[in-house]
Each structure stands twice: as C-alpha cells, then as structure tokens.
Subunit: 305 residues, 2 copies
C-alpha cells in the first residue's frame, strides 16, 4: 500500500487557503516528500504524518515556490529528533542552491546527502521503500518529472520451500528478505517466493510543457499527478510562453500514458476556482480529479482491489 | 499617524493558525517590515496592505524563523511591480545570508541595498518616513532591537511667515518642505514653522534576554513590542538557556522604560494559549496586551488624542 497526500496545490505563490504544490508519499511509515515551497511544514503539521520519518526530499526544480520551505523543513525535521541521514534529490544545481539556503539552517543533527540528477535519467534510486526514476522535462529552467515504483514481491511458495530441505523455522526470515545460512549453504528469499507481483506506479510532473517522452515515462501509472496551471484552452499561448500545462494538455498526457487516474495540481494564483474547468479535462481523460490541499488516498496493490 | 500590524506572533516554527513573528509599519502609505519568516507573505496578503510599497525589510537576526520567508517576499514584491530600490537592514552577516537565500530569487526588477548594522548603534537611518535606530541585544547569535521614530514638524506660524516678506502663494510649498527661492533669497521650512511637536516612538525587540540598555533604548516609547516566549515564571532557567524573555521580564522592561503600552509577541510553540498568563505581565505593567496574528492599530500623535 502507498499513501499519497497533496500538501499544497498552488503555483507561484502561497495563498490564504492554498499552499504551494507539494506531494507526500508514505510506505510502511516512511515518508518521501516531493517539493517543499514556503509553508509546506505547516501543511505537513496539519496532515500529522510526522517529520522525523522523512527519508528523502525531491525537487522538481529550483524556482522558489518549489524549494523556499526547505530551511524551515530541515529545522522541523531536526526538532523532531531525526539523526539518520536525509537524502535530497534534484536536477543540476542542487548543492549550490541548498548550500545557499542552509546559511540559515547550518547545524543539523543528521547528515544531508545530495543526489544531483544529471545523468539523463537512466539510473534508479531507492528511498522510503520506493524505487525512484526521473525524466528531464521542458520548463524555463532544468526540471524533472519523477516516477515512483512500489514493488511487490511474489507470494510465499510452500512447494518451493519444502523442496529446499530448510527447516520451517527459517521460512519467515527468508520471506522477509533476510539471508539464511544453514549447514553451510546460503538461502535467499527468491528461493521461497513466486514471481514478483504487480506493484504500484505513481508519476509526478509539474512545471513543464507536455513532452514527447512524458507519456512513455508515465506508462500505465496507477496515479499520475500533473500540473493544471491554466483551466482555459484559450490560455495556451501563455502556457507555451511560461512553460506550463493546460488542464486539457495534462489530460492528453494521461490518456496517452494509459494511466489509471489523473490528479491535477499546481494551479495558477489567478485560477481561484478550478472546478468549472474539470469537464474540459474529463472530456479527454474521464478519470481526472481535481487536487486540493490535503487530498489524501491510500493506493492498494492491484489484485487486492 | 503610524499604522502598526503584527503579521505573525509565533516563535521557532509556523503553526496552523499562528504565523512567525513579523511586524509591519505604515506611514503615508509606505511600508516597513520587521522580520520575514516562512509564511509572512501569506499574512501580508491577508492584511491587504500591498507588496509594492515595502521600502525596507529589517531583520532582528538570522535564525530561520525570522528570515526564511525572504525569497518568497522578494518575488512577491517583484510580482507586484516594484522597481524602486528595496533596503535591507540587519546585524553582521546580512549580505552573506541574503545572498545565499537569493540563489532562488536571483532576478529582481529592483535593486537590493544592504545595510549591515555593526557600528554599535550610534547612527540613524531613514526608511518609509521613519527614523530608525538599533541596539545590539543578548541572544545566542548577533541580534538587534529596533526603535522607530515618526517625527512631527512644528505648526505653521503665520506670524513668522508674514515677517519674512514672502508672498502667501509660497507658504504651503515651504510648509511641505520644498525650498523656495524668491528675489535671490533662499527660504526653508524652518522659517515658517514653530517648534517640532512630539512624534511617535515604537520599539521592537524579540529574541533576547532583558539587557541593561534595553529600557533606556525604549525610553518613553508610545508602543513597545517585546517577545513573551514563555508565560510561566517557572520557565526562567529555559529562558536564560535559550536567551529569551518571560512575560514578566518583558513587563519589567516596559515599566522601567516608562513605555505607554506593551504588546507581547513571539510565543513559544508550546504556549498554545497565552491568555492565562497575561495577568502575570499586567501585575507588573498594567498596559500589557497580548499580540495575535493580524493585531492592528493606528497610533495617533500625542496631542491629537
């Protein structure tokens, strides 16, 4: 199971009643945060999932509305008593930007690890139980889309286990992923598990034009979270100029990706009321929903639905 | 007249319903902001006094809760269309800290002027129609108290004006402070004004132990805004350790200063409800009031009361 929450859904500036776009993922009690604009710590306090268990913060890019809340967030995590390392991920410039911001958050009781993602998106990372990959997208500054995979191991296969000649007392250890050595022989979990079962995939992208690679990157996502900066199709010239997406463009990406569902976020401050434009997106991709601050859901593994 | 508003009244971290301590002063439509923690731009939006007319931002010190909102504030001011220079004031380290934070707010349509206040507090500055002086106080890092004077010129003196032999048509120009040259002779406003009248004094200090100099610095303030980090006198050891003030200590400073009124602000996150401790302060200084987010008042010149 994967819990997902939108801490904020605004673009450009925090508004009374609408914080800046940020997404929080939770797997087995560990947290991963995507973007951290001014006020994100307040939204997280409202949600109540805790600060100490944040294992990683990922940045799509370094416009202030996506990272200005970082110093306060680091101090809140410190204040919650974290001592384990915290991983930061982001495009080129991560260290330069974060070291600048940390001039007001210098002393932390945990290590900060920097993962500057500039190798084109071929590599995989792990944090908070999730497999992370990224795709450079098309904004006015270097910007990344992120894909998160929660993998699910195969079922325990008693037939296979019995054939191993390993006492039952070791079976649950093996199933949990521990390595077992018995009579000098090494046993691995794959030896007692069936084929890997379908997991969950979530893709997140704000601050980009639709790109040719994006639907492929988001292929078959269980949930796709995309920006809907402007509701009206008439704003396309503005969307092109400022490198953002319309509701209809986000819906087309979701359709092309074969995603199961689409959540819209990152609304322009001028888009006070997004609801009237939802039908524009739903006409293209019916499973579109409007994001809002505090929108939260638990995604279940496919076969358990 | 001097408008004063508390944008936030919290210390350490922004809370749902209580933003970080920040004070806004308004004189003739121009604004001066003291401290700018995470979320200050949201409070200012709620207040509605505008962003473009902020002429100066002063920092007491560089703990994150007093400056983390600066990048977003600079961008909000830019977005409001300001092109006039913006003055930043603060203790030693101003340029280093702000240049770090500005890595996410690099391109601004206005000049940023840095006034690093490290000459012991003898000099005077001007911004937004106010005369500014400062006093180093006692916190865990360099920290300043600020005093603001709104001076009030003397009344127009028709007797003096008539004796000058200057045609009446020039009188109002002179009174407004313009220099008038008539028949080769230079006339200044002092020539038609009576003695300077009493103006208004406001002193602001958070994040400090009470110091020997503070009451003298705040002498006869019309309004004194001081931190009340802890309500209970039993927290004195903690106040000493963390270099903060108790309600009762703030009240004693106000009494010794001969201030007219005291507002308390900068409450500890643990002090969810400050009201029960107000009597502790009022027993020492009866004119104590509790600050709260959005507390606002117009201070009138003494004789107009």
């Amino acid at each position: 199971m994967l819990d997902v929450a939108l801490l904020g859904t605004g673009g450009m500036m925090p508004m009374p009643g609408r914080f800046l776009s940020s997404m929080l993922l939770r797997v087995n009690g560990r947290l991963l945060l995507v973007d951290c604009g001014e006020g994100t710590q307040v939204s997280l306090k409202n949600l109540g999932w805790g600060f100490k268990v944040i294992d990683a913060i990922l940045f799509t890019h370094y416009h202030a509305d996506h990272i200005s809340g970082l110093p306060g967030m680091l101090l809140a995590i410190a204040n919650a008593g974290r001592t384990e390392p915290l991983a930061l991920f982001g495009p080129k410039g991560l260290t330069f930007v974060v070291e600048g911001l940390r001039r007001i958050a210098q002393e932390l009781p945990f290590m900060v690890e920097y993962y500057e993602l500039n190798r084109g998106g071929e590599e995989l990372y792990q944090a908070a139980g999730l497999e992370i990959s990224y795709l450079p997208v098309d904004h006015s500054v270097p910007c990344l889309a992120y894909r998160f995979r929660l993998r699910r191991q195969g079922r325990f296969d008693a037939h296979k286990a019995e054939k191993l000649g390993l006492p039952r007392v070791y079976w649950s250890k093996l199933q949990k992923g521990e390595e077992v050595v018995f009579h000098g022989r090494k046993f691995l979990k794959e030896m007692v598990l069936g084929e890997e079962r379908p997991g969950l995939t979530l893709t997140y992208c704000t601050d980009s034009r639709p790109t040719a690679q994006l639907p492929g990157f988001a292929k078959n996502s269980d949930l796709l979270v995309l920006e809907g900066m402007y509701g009206e199709d008439e704003k396309k010239p503005k969307a092109i100029q400022n490198k953002h997406m319309l509701f209809s463009e986000a819906a087309r990406v979701a359709k092309e990706a074969g995603a199961k569902r689409l959540w819209l976020t990152h609304y322009s401050p001028a888009l006070k009321e997004p609801a009237p434009f939802l039908p524009v997106a739903q006409a293209i991709f019916p499973e579109t929903e409007l994001g809002f601050d505090g929108k939260m859901e638990t995604l279940s593994f496919p076969e358990a639905r």
